[in-house]
């Protein structure tokens, strides 16, 4: 919240603020969840199917702790909040929308456009787009963290994780994952993102860059800032597409949006996850199944 004089504490004889308490406040791995409703399941139950990915996200720190020691990037756009929610777990659009960023990586010699495209399209044990129960979702790719971690510090960092977690867990931790906790919380490699609907066609997004406790990541914020934030070389191109899509959804003659990519090859695994190729729309289908369930208060078949 932007600081203002209105945010100063009220004084009372007891020193208490006398604010109404949120009915449910619980934490998991340092993330605080407040529920303003008296209804709803306990946090452990709510997070049961997404917890493993929150754990892997936290274990990127050699000490298992992620902190938010710095300020916030805030951006807004004249479009619906669900554009941002869909986008974070979408593995299909990158080659087109982020062509500009791929050109920058090619210019600097970091990676060729062909390499980037190959990474996006690879089929492997850890290259998936998943729709989870509760409307949660994730996009995962095997060799992530590029662009959010100083490549010079990478070998030392991997060794730290290896010492702490062992080879299997290290591989799990460095897998690139964008994790959506429905409806509006994202855990990204470099930051926590909170999507705030302001109006049906206006959205604020708070991006909180993270620090991995114990990792020497001097260049990490710089790399993060290169792609994310309102004046960066990545995120604004996504936002432009949201805004174009917002123009499109006004078209009454075409009332449906199609999210069928990979529908035929989607499989449900033993964890109840709808698993697709990393460029499929399995996550978006999970998001909208839950959205419809909540908006209509009627059970929708999984």
């Amino acid at each position: 919240v932007p600081r203002s004089s209105r945010a100063t504490r009220p004084t009372s004889p007891t020193g208490a603020c006398d604010f109404a308490a949120a009915p449910h406040v619980e934490t998991y791995r340092g993330l605080v969840f407040a529920n303003l409703s008296t209804e709803g399941e306990p946090l452990q139950q709510r997070l049961a199917t997404v917890r493993r990915y929150i754990d892997a996200w936290c274990d990127r720190s050699p000490e298992g702790r992620v902190t938010l020691p710095v300020g916030t990037h805030r951006y807004e756009y004249p479009g619906n909040w669900k554009m941002q929610v869909e986008n974070g777990v979408d593995g299909y659009y990158g080659n087109y929308v982020h062509e500009s960023f791929a050109d920058l990586l090619e210019r600097s010699g970091e990676r060729t456009a062909t390499d980037i495209s190959r990474t996006r399209n690879r089929v492997g044990a850890k290259n998936h787009a998943k729709g989870l129960p509760h409307g949660d979702a994730l996009l995962e790719r095997e060799d992530g963290m590029l662009g959010t971690f100083d490549s010079a510090g990478w070998p030392e960092y991997r060794q730290q994780l290896l010492d702490r977690h062992g080879p299997e867990r290290m591989q799990e931790a460095v897998t690139q994952r964008n994790v959506l906790v429905f409806p509006n919380l994202y855990l990204f490699e470099s930051h926590i993102r909170v999507v705030r609907p302001v109006a049906v066609d206006r959205t604020w997004v708070d991006v909180h860059p993270t620090t991995l406790v114990g990792a020497s990541d001097a260049a990490r914020l710089k790399e993060h800032q290169r792609f994310f934030g309102p004046a960066s070389f990545g995120q604004p191109d996504d936002i432009e597409i949201f805004v174009c899509a917002q123009t499109g959804v006004r078209a009454g003659a075409a009332p449906w949006m199609e999210l069928s990519r990979g529908l035929a090859r989607e499989v449900v695994n033993e964890l109840g996850e709808h698993v697709g190729h990393s460029s499929d729309e399995a996550p978006q289908r999970a998001i909208y199944r839950e959205w419809r369930r909540r908006m209509t208060a009627q059970e929708v078949p999984a």
Binding site: V70, G71, R74, V97, D103, R107, F233
Partner: protein, 171 residues
């Protein structure tokens, strides 16, 4: 009291700074970004901080060193950056210019800048045909010479800690 010889020097410095700032504004508004880069020294920086302290560990809207500035111009001039398709039309206004000569030979410039921005297009397209006005207080460090060059440019937006819609033109 100012000595008799200092006044003409101060006037010359002020005129040189004003010429430089006006040239910068014109190059930006004409989208001559490669020439804009040439106004800066090889060790230049270009920053739009969010916090009030200049801390490299704090997120900033822009925290470019010279290489970052070159990458920014490359993106604007030689890649398909959707956020600049169609491109921003801008008008940079520079006011409240104060010039102070520092002991190390550099010149500190404080000024206000307002940028009018518009992306031209169909008014039914969200985000187009909507003029914006962004105001900032700016501080430059300038190196006198032939020509005068900019060592650093730091602009603090009036609304810097609030959500910002794409800011993909050069401020």
């Amino acid at each position: 009291m100012m000595s008799a010889s200092a006044a003409p020097d101060r006037l010359a410095a002020r005129l040189a700074v004003q010429d430089l700032l006006h040239l910068e504004a014109r190059l930006l508004d004409d989208r001559r970004f490669d020439e804009w880069l040439d106004l800066f020294t090889g060790d230049a920086s270009y920053r739009l901080p969010i916090s009030d302290v200049d801390d490299p560990h704090e997120p900033a809207l822009i925290a470019d060193d010279r290489a970052g500035m070159e990458e920014r111009v490359f993106r604007l001039t030689r890649t398909l950056a959707h956020a600049q398709n169609p491109p921003s039309r801008t008008e940079h206004d520079v006011t409240n210019v104060e010039v102070r000569e520092l002991e190390d030979g550099l010149v500190e410039v404080l000024c206000h800048q307002t940028v009018h921005e518009l992306r031209v297009g169909d008014p039914f397209s969200v985000g187009l045909a909507e003029p914006r006005l962004l105001a900032a207080r700016c501080r430059y460090l300038v190196v006198p010479g032939e020509p005068w060059r900019i060592r650093s440019k730091t602009c603090r937006l009036l609304a810097r800690e609030y959500p910002v819609y794409n800011l993909t033109f050069l401020f």
